[in-house]
Amino acid sequence: MVQANLAHQPKDKTELARPQPVQVKARTPLSEFWRKFKKQKMALVAGSFVLALMLIALVGPYIAPYSSKEFDYESILAGPSLHHWMGTDAYGRDIFSRVLEGTRISLFVGLFSVLFGALGGTILGIIAGFYGKWIDSVIMRICDVLFAFPGILLAIGIIAILGPGLSNVIIAVSIFSVPIFARIVRSSTLSVKATLYVEATKSLGAKNSRLIWKHIFPGTVSSIIVYFTMRIGTSILTAASLSFLGLGAQPPTPEWGAMLSSGRDYLNTAPHVVFYPGMAIFVTVLAFNLLGDGLRDALDPKIKD
């Protein structure tokens, strides 16, 4: 008791002075994220590039100098020039215009296949992690089985059943994304479920649906965002591979993988027909991967700056 009182005795006059109000800027999760994210120059560049790609996907066909279906038999397999920036293909179609139009297809396939995969995976992951017991075992065993097939093999198997085509590629890629999201969301659900605030809400009598929507799901969002971005790159790559194998988009669709596939026969004489669509796939996937890396570093609380 005496000690405690002594501890409150002012030692000198400066301590008696009224404390100055300190301006502390409140840090919302969003501003905290932005503070960390903007330090990563590479991810910023990649993010801007992704935004530009989205813009191209929206307006690409309107700004393209030629139509993707415009044949020009006068200039077949012509190299890059001022008229045709990326040259022309075997039918004299302008490759630059086709690459621009292909942006919409690739982004569409990448975005939607991951969206469906993430949706399915998140629902399954939350159910497995939240309810546990047998339901968890069943969901996780199914995921194990899906994991027993290397990604593209599963997609090829699904396409063997459904038949080739772009919409079936989206279904195939979605299905093989499901177990990945299920696993990640399950593990973050487990860790969120074990936190004190969830325990507190539960003891206040909150319903399961409220617990899941208001507390568990928001806790898993950051890991979903990171994997979402990273999977878009992988999905674009897989979809392009399938089209290259002749199982996805069919010519004359200006899909990058399909363009590459039909350009293969002219590799010796006109390598530009293969080079530019491939470059488009590469930089797009690279941008999504770099952005994903940056988001992970900014959202992962374990990584300190």
Partner: protein, 306 residues
């Protein structure tokens, strides 16, 4: 240790069972009458019925599954619809080319991956690190079929150093294995870097430095040796993904392997071959995962006693 082995071994049995059911149902998941699909659009009703009998599609589902499993165990995978030869013969001649292609890709991948990973970790936040890690992300983002075609264009067409495709001599292995290994090298590099960076923070590394050991000895002998455990696991798992990657690469290089057989079979709707290959790929993947698991147990005693 023995107990751990048995536990792991027992763990794959349910997965194997579900995988086999999955692949068995494969033919049944195709929309329409499977017998009609197998017999072809122009087949007569009689042909369709004989195919139905031959594939035992007229029996109850559980009986079909049982004979499917028994046949598979006896090595009877049915006949290819395209060549009419037994599927097992088709697969046998194509197994080794794919196997050696995967092995050589892995050799490249480990060599380059470890080197880039170690250099990046030991030169953290210097230009070598940035260059190495940018290269690794680029490696993951590279469409392998495009890289393959570009390598063919440069080294086969322009320089004439290597054949453009097929499998004739050791030279045929160089370009496909480099292409296939690039993505895996990138994954190994990223993983080695982060694992080694964790180890380099340890006290015994500081002790090594403090007693005046050469930095190279500290990183390669003391650091890498301990950082390798998770890297080996990761590398083993990548072996399975090489199998998947080989599907695309074999098509680019006209490689006489399993991957190309699969793509050709899908285009031809040769369901018995697709079914067998799916099972084979899945089985290989499961076995590799098991070996990795066991190896992990051997290398890391902590795991066994959990």
């Amino acid at each position: 240790m023995f107990q751990y082995f048995i536990k792991r071994l027992a763990g794959i049995i349910p997965i194997l069972m579900i995988v086999s059911i999955f692949i068995f149902l494969f033919v049944h998941m195709i929309p329409g009458d499977p017998a009609r699909l197998v017999a072809g659009q122009d087949a007569t009703q009689q042909d369709v019925e004989s195919v139905r009998k031959q594939l035992e599609l007229d029996k109850p589902l559980h009986q079909q599954y049982l004979s499917f499993v028994t046949n598979m165990i006896h090595g009877d995978f049915g006949h290819s619809l395209k060549t009419k030869r037994p599927v097992i013969e088709e697969i046998q001649s194509r197994f080794m080319p794919t196997f050696w292609l995967s092995v050589w890709s892995m050799v490249w991948a480990v060599l380059f991956g470890l080197l880039i990973g170690v250099v990046s970790a030991s030169k953290r936040n210097k230009w070598q690190d940035y260059a190495g890690m940018f290269g690794a992300v680029a490696g993951i983002s590279l469409p392998s079929f495009w890289m393959g075609l570009m390598l063919i264009q440069l080294f086969s067409v322009k320089l004439g150093w290597f054949p453009t495709g097929g499998l004739d001599s050791w030279k045929s292995y160089v370009l496909p294995s480099l292409t296939l290994g690039a993505g895996v090298a990138a994954v190994i590099a990223r993983f080695t870097r982060s694992s080694l960076m964790d180890i380099l923070k340890e006290d015994y590394i500081r002790t090594g430095r403090a007693k005046g050991l050469h930095e190279r000895k500290v990183v390669w002998d003391h650091g890498l040796k301990n950082a390798l455990i998770p890297v080996v696991t990761m590398t083993g798992l990548q072996f399975g993904f090489l199998l998947g990657g080989s599907i695309v690469i074999e098509t680019v290089f006209g490689w006489p392997g399993l991957g190309r057989l699969l793509v050709d079979s899908v285009s031809f709707r040769d369901y018995p071959v697709i079914q067998s290959l799916m099972l084979l790929f899945a089985l290989e993947f499961i076995i590799i995962n098991l070996i990795v698991d066991l190896l992990y147990g051997v290398m890391n005693p902590q795991i066994r006693y959990e």
